[in-house]
Amino acid sequence: MYAIISIVSFLILWAIGVHYSEIKIVMPGPWEVIKEFVDSFINPVGRHTMPLHILYSLMRVVPAYLVGSVFGIVLGILMGWFRPVNSIFRPIYELIRPIPPIAWIPISIVWFGIGEGSKWFLIFLAAFVPVTLNSISGAKSVDPLLIKCGQMLGASKKYIFKSIVLPFSVPYIFSGLQVGLAGSWATVVAAEMIRSTEGVGWIIISSMDTNDVTQSLVGIMGIGIVGFLLATIMRKVEDKLCAWTRREV
């Protein structure tokens, strides 16, 4: 309810601002953008309609995100739990961590060409880095008393890892997956700057050539809405898997 009020009042302010000021030269009103957005579902922007652009972008994000997440979870948990693994990988990881995915664009083109490979690589990095970080902190924060408890109950080291370290880390992993998903989806715009003829990122990039602010805003809207939906789906999955973290008496 509050969400609707907040969005509607934002749109009204936007409309008023555009209507009564000189901004209208560089900024279309909200109704125009929404109309164009809806229109993009029927009439193609460039070669495709909006749903197809979204689909193309998702086909870049989803596989790279999944692979990046799996790598991140495995490496992060191992780094967080096993000291030698941490000693080996931590320094390299710490060096890679602060580099924004877009800084890799030139290298990714040299390595993987201008096709899908370089885009997957950038999105992989955008997912891998935060998922690893959160998985490390999950495995590191396991309550030592629970480990003692496992030992006291006769569990082997392997069983303690499986039955205590992993489930304890799940909520941490999920916050990494959320951050990674948002990052991956944001990176798709940058990835699609590397020569593409489709995708929501392309919509924005191509609007630069024509100075079409409305088209740019349509692309932004597409990215925002899909990003929001992805985050919501992720939260639902988390709620299902981490029911035990909810407090209810």
Binding site: D143, L146, K148, M152, L153, G154, A155
Partner: protein
Amino acid sequence: MRMDKKGSVDTVIECRHISKEFTSKRGTAKVLEDISLQVRKNEFVVLFGPGQCGKTTLMNVLSGLDGATKGTVYSHGQEVTGPGSERGVVFQSMALFPWLTVRGNVAYGPKARGFDKDAYTKKSDYYIDLVGLKGFENAYINQLSGGMKQRVGIARAYCNEPDVLFMDEPFSALDAQTRYLMQEEIMRIWSTEKRTVVFITNNIEEAVYVADRIILLTNCPARIKKEYPIDLPRPRDYTSKEFLLLRDEISKNMDRTL
């Protein structure tokens, strides 16, 4: 029954001349000093002493969770070198697994030790019933009250069938009403399924209510000050003359702390 190398046939756990020191940058703190004690099979022993006197440290050493600086702990004549399923612990902070249901928590030990599903389900259901949680098998820990959580802790330790059960101030986090109830409950459970128990508390009433024998410890570093066998008939009455006399006498002998 297994024959013992040391002590009587009945001795389940024994420690000899235990000392424990903690060393930090600021120096060395002695927490336990020359403690020797024996616990017989199915005996309910209470380690009683002022707050912060080292009771938990003593329990950690006896259960193998922590090593002693000097002295040795024997379980059935075998030296104790680390934690193991022969020595169960009920923790003050409960330390339950929140991602598991009540049944998952209680069955954890047998499952970890490789019992098959039928066996550990049957065992856990029996102990869940024993502690009075029938009907809550599939509840998660955060859906339970404090008293119920500690019932899970007791069932989990019982279900693993250890030789000795250590209980480290198990009721100190509960409100007063629940605490009385749990004292009655632990007596009921223990009478139904006899176990060797080492129970830690700093509450004199609780100590006299549950104990076969109270071992009174001094202030830190803890030494054994005196032992009191308690042979009042069970269930005990908190307000009977004998109960109050004992309570008074032991209280008088307890070291004062700030």
